[in-house]
Amino acid sequence: MKEAIHQPRALVLTETDGVAILLDPAIGGDTIVLLDSGFGSIGNVEAREPIEPFHKVAIRKIDAGDSVVKLGETIGRASCSIARGDHVHVHNVVSARLS
């Protein structure tokens, strides 16, 4: 039996961003297609775990303590090392301001 090909999409909002916003649900092993804000394909990343739509996937490695950048701005700091393809959320990012 042939498995359905999962190619969820994710938006990279700004060139300098380290994360992309999932537009479709992803499961571990999916090849996520990365889109720029004009919905043109700019590459892909392999999901390492399930990620819900509109949550973030790391599109590059982010070391513990480094800034997590979205919309070209720091949205927090990595609380542990984040690999490319990881779900980026409250379990691995903390506010740089209120913590």
Partner: protein, 402 residues
Amino acid sequence: MMHEQPFKGFRRAEGRAGIRNCLLVLPVGQCANELALACASGISGAFPLLHTQPCAHLGEDNAAARSCLVGLGRNPNAAAVLVVGIGCDSISADGIAEEIASTGKPVEWLTVSSCGDWNTVIERGRAWLATQQKAAASLRREEVPCSDLALGIKCGGSDATSAVAGNAAIGQAVDRLVGAGGTVIFSETTELIGAEHLLMARAATPSVRNEIRAVVRRVEDSILATGVDPRGTQPTPGNIAGGLTTLEEKSLGGVIKTGSGPIAGVFAWGAWPERNGLHLMDCPANVPQLLLGWAAAGAQLLVFSVGGGLPARIPSLIGTNVGGFPLLPILKILSNPRDRDVSATFDLDASGVLDGRESVDHVAIRLWDRIAATADGEPTYLEDYPAPAVQMWEMLVRGPTI
């Protein structure tokens, strides 16, 4: 200044034109809320604005509440204002009425003290409102420049789609209105933490820059001073479920709706901005306080950007138990395509941006047209929403209640 089409509003004796004719019934304190309700009951167009002002607030809070009440009466959407009180209130009904009357609009004040008893206030109040109802019905809309528009902007139920769709479109509409000489007011100081540097860079003057920094620092310090970890509160559990991780991320998405233009000023809750342009109203992210603040600052219309998820499933006004606030019509915008099945409870569906079906530029044009139509009199979704409950609107309190 960019020229835009005029809208059709109700010219007032002074100041900006209104987009609605509200018969505002304004109690000066919460002891008079029942009077306001009884005066307005069954009178179409009458809005009893119930609120939480007690007798036991101190100087600064009382002054802000007083200024708020005057501003609510001055709001261009109020065609006539009935001020009611007991007579022993900490804010005097006659004083408020006198200041509102300086706008030239019809104003009456009645208290238990001036009328002799409780029921007489209600009888006289109802008779006065009936007269004003007839007068308001004879008012006709006229062409008014869109520089007369003052817009409040807010997000609620934010998720990761808000910044990409609804807020991005609002930002373009804001630039357009400010470019045409109009006024836009954003607020929710807590939700500027982490994004204040972007706003400071847009301050029209060094003093506005300092004020932006000061109001954000004050709210941040007040949170840290509690010693309580704010995570799970800001961002809210709903925001986190929607993919927002930190307050900074929420803030960065939120400020997108302020557009790209200069910030003309910062003003305190309860005050009225001195000039047109883009302003920050210093108020926490609490809807019953925010709506009072916007209306008291003269806004005629609020654009409310909703992300998605469970908050998008609330058909009424998020953050309250009612459908809306008659003095300030509200346009609801949806951003998340997964909630498109409830888009009928919104005035504008911006979610096409998230699946590449519609550009932000195009949504912004539709939003502008919807703002113009609302200003011309087209009812919003919430204006038609049945409201079985009663809402107490909240005065902003910074000091102790004694």
